[in-house]
């Protein structure tokens, strides 16, 4: 019934790892060909693969893991998806119903453990409920503010010798769950009036634009108004990265011009963003002169950390569409003179510090150069996944994402080990696309066993390991705040990555000089059917800048090791 329900839901791939409590389900998988199972090497990777599929397509990914350790290994992946509002259905095996609560072999209370990191979870109590629960799980995961849903299935609920009537419901209705489908027209009207009167506006958008499929509407509205656009880490690609109106990412490692513009703005239009601490810096100093319009599908995100002047609860796509119509139909035009002065100011900021880094203070390659080369070699068109740390910030700053759903990273939870399985999940579903995993020598070792899965399923992703021989972001903080006491932030005895990937049956490339980088990278991407691991030696002393000064306002930033605003 489980497999049949997944098939009826239109699921093509599920990612998982078998175990005792799931043997009935795995036997059913064996006897059909519609739902293909991908065997990972660690359950965390299964959840990240499912998660990345969801990030790239907008549809819920599915993971299947056994009870006990299988389920607990999946928790990190579930939490990763939860924090970034990614739709996912995770099916966990459970011990037989009569053993629950008796500390049986491989028993854990998965409902209890997963509760704080899921949108909802189900326990199957009667086999005949399976089709409805599966449909509800997908409905909940994909609608409203998306999120992961766990279905915990005791082994005796899947006994193959017992037969039950099966009908897969097309729709499910739940009296306690009715996601909102449009915004309040009065509020949208008020907001549009403010937009048309703004003198120093900024459009600040997040992952909600990507998840809500609202990139086209955002781009159209921004162009109509000629307003600058900044994206959060999760929102990159929501607006074309090479567009003149794009002023870069904002926040802790945001661009100088984006953070300055936010601080001096008189109006902020926030769309599908949640004013998180990595964006706002100190909330009491946040954007002191700005009125705030906040569009979000989740009412709890509005006025949670920063008070909104005009809250609009609704799906980004529908609300923005309504705004576009209002702007088009309005007699009033945006204030061209004020905007031209505002753009002049922004361009001046952009001139002063826009995305520059020094290449002359060391012989070594700069990590920024590697990302810029990746952007060049792939024409800004690849799917880029990342792990967590300095390389993630460099990728976010220097890769120019022109399309949504192409930048795939663990933004909220910051999960090291995410990058490789995420790249695999994308490649499996987009076999013809270039998929690059930007990682570091620290992060990659958190799920390196998946190189084996890549071999089994022929997943020729390109891994760019920015090897700085240290946990770069930790080291940076230690440099800046702990007088360079590098406590546990470097690893001695790193493996020979080239030999390691070759042992897994893949291609390894070592790059030490910038002069060799372009050639090597082009060669790697030309090897269409091979996984290539590029071990790229970069300057271990490089820091990510700008970096906001702790407890300051948006405009308080370090711009280099010596310069401060």
């Amino acid at each position: 019934m489980v497999v049949r329900a997944l098939k009826d839901e239109g699921v093509k791939y599920i990612y998982g790892y078998p175990g005792g409590s799931l043997l009935h389900v795995y036997d059913a998988l064996f006897q059909q060909e519609d739902v293909q199972h991908v065997l990972v090497r660690h359950e965390q990777a299964a959840t990240h693969m499912a998660d990345a599929y969801a990030r790239a397509t907008g549809k819920a990914g599915v993971a299947l893991v056994t009870s006990g350790p299988g389920a607990t290994n999946a928790i990190t992946g579930i939490a990763t998806a939860f924090t970034d509002s990614i739709p996912m259905v995770v099916i966990t095996g459970q011990v037989m119903s009569h053993l629950i609560g008796e500390d049986a072999f491989q028993e854990t209370d998965m409902l209890g453990i997963s509760r704080p990191v899921v949108k909802h979870n189900f326990s199957v109590q009667r086999p005949e409920d399976i089709p409805t629960i599966v449909r509800k799980a997908f409905h909940i995961a994909e609608s409203g503010r998306p999120g992961p849903v766990v279905i915990d299935i005791p082994k005796d609920m899947t006994t193959p010798t017992e037969r039950y009537p099966y009908e897969y419901p097309k729709q499910v209705k739940m009296r306690s769950y009715t996601p909102i489908t449009r915004g309040h027209s009065g509020q949208i009207k008020k907001a549009t009036d403010l937009l048309l009167n703004a003198k120093r506006p900024v459009i600040y958008t997040g992952g909600g634009v990507i998840l809500g499929g609202a990139s086209d509407e955002l781009t159209e509205l921004s162009r109509l108004l000629n307003f600058p656009v900044t994206n959060t880490l999760m929102g990159l690609g929501g607006f074309p990265g090479t567009d003149r109106q794009f002023i870069g990412m904002l926040g802790m490692h945001g661009s100088y011009e984006a953070n300055m513009a936010m601080h001096h703005a008189d109006l902020i239009l926030a769309v599908g963003a949640r004013f998180d601490d990595r964006v706002t810096n100190a909330t009491d100093k946040f954007c002191p002169t700005a009125k705030i319009i906040h569009i979000d599908i989740d009412p709890a995100s509005i006025s949670k950390t920063v008070q909104a002047d005009i809250p609009i609860v609704g799906p980004a796509k529908v609300v923005l569409e309504e705004m576009i119509q209002l702007v088009k139909g309005s007699k009033k035009q945006p204030d061209a003179d004020a905007l031209s002065a505002w753009w002049q100011q922004i361009d001046e900021w952009r001139q002063r510090h826009g995305g520059r880094y020094r290449t002359d203070d060391s012989e070594l390659m700069k990590p920024q150069q590697v990302i810029e080369m990746l952007s060049k070699v792939t024409n800004g068109d690849a799917f880029v996944t990342s792990d967590v740390g300095q390389h993630q910030m460099f990728a976010a700053q220097y890769y120019k994402f022109n399309k949504p759903n192409r930048w795939i990273n663990s933004g909220g939870l910051g999960t090291m080990g995410f990058g490789l399985p995420a790249a695999m999940g994308v490649k499996m579903n987009f076999p013809d696309a270039d998929v690059a995993c930007v990682t570091g020598e620290g992060s990659i070792q958190m799920n390196i066993q998946e190189l084996s899965t890549c071999k089994q399923y022929d997943l020729p992703v390109k891994i760019l390991c920015l090897n700085n021989q240290s946990l770069g972001m930790v080291r940076q903080w230690q440099d800046m705040n702990y007088e360079s006491r590098h406590s546990q932030s470097y690893m001695k005895s790193l493996p020979d990555f080239i030999k390691l990937v070759e042992a897994y049956g893949h291609v390894g490339m070592k790059v030490d000089k910038y002069a060799d980088l372009e050639g090597a990278m082009r060669e790697a991407f030309a090897l269409k059917d091979r996984l290539v691991f590029m071990d790229i030696a970069v300057d271990p002393f490089e820091h990510v800048y700008p970096m906001q000064v702790p407890r300051g306002s948006m405009r308080d930033m370090w711009l280099s090791k010596t310069e401060r605003t």
Binding site: L111, P116, H120, R175, S176, D298, P299, A300
Partner: protein
């Protein structure tokens, strides 16, 4: 400020733990909590009292509303409402104290629901501050055990919390 939040939710296993878990997860405080099925056996009614400023309480109601099992949420403190709590209190009662306790009990309109030669068990119904006042009036020396139900509340007038 103290708020009384009423929640109508699906009467399903695990629903209560979602509510309680939410409070600890988000660092909200719970003063008291009561829960029982309603006249419709598929629904439970939960009442929680909490202390927080308007922003915190707004977050609490929004976050509660997000829980899939929660059907409706209302902050009763926003309007006219009635609150009640039941307390049973076991007291040492011998000698002169027996009459004294009985008098205090009458003043507060409590009922003595169990008697032994040396103890009284008193039942008292009222708003929480009335129960507090009763305890204060007794003085702690004679109290052996206190059990309180937690607050339940209902809006005044025609306002109802239902489907």
């Amino acid at each position: 400020m103290r708020h009384i939040i009423s929640v109508l939710m699906e009467n399903e296993p695990g629903a209560l733990s979602r509510v309680v878990g939410l409070f600890s997860q988000r660092n909200f405080n719970i003063e008291s909590l009561t829960v029982a099925p309603t006249e419709d056996a598929t629904l439970s009614r939960l009442t929680v009292t909490t202390i927080g400023n308007d922003r915190v309480v707004e977050q609490i109601t929004k976050q509660l509303n997000k829980l899939i099992d929660v059907v409706k949420v209302v902050d009763l403190s926003e309007g006219e409402h009635i609150e009640r709590e039941v307390m049973m209190i076991k007291l040492k009662a011998s000698g002169q104290m027996r009459a004294e306790i009985k008098r205090t009990c009458d003043i507060f309109r409590g009922q003595i629901i169990d008697v032994t030669p040396t103890t009284y068990t008193v039942q008292l119904v009222g708003a929480s501050d009335k129960l507090d006042a009763f305890i204060n009036a007794l003085g702690s020396a004679s109290i052996m055990e206190v059990v309180r139900s937690g607050v339940c509340g209902i809006a005044r007038g025609e306002k109802v919390l239902s489907l």
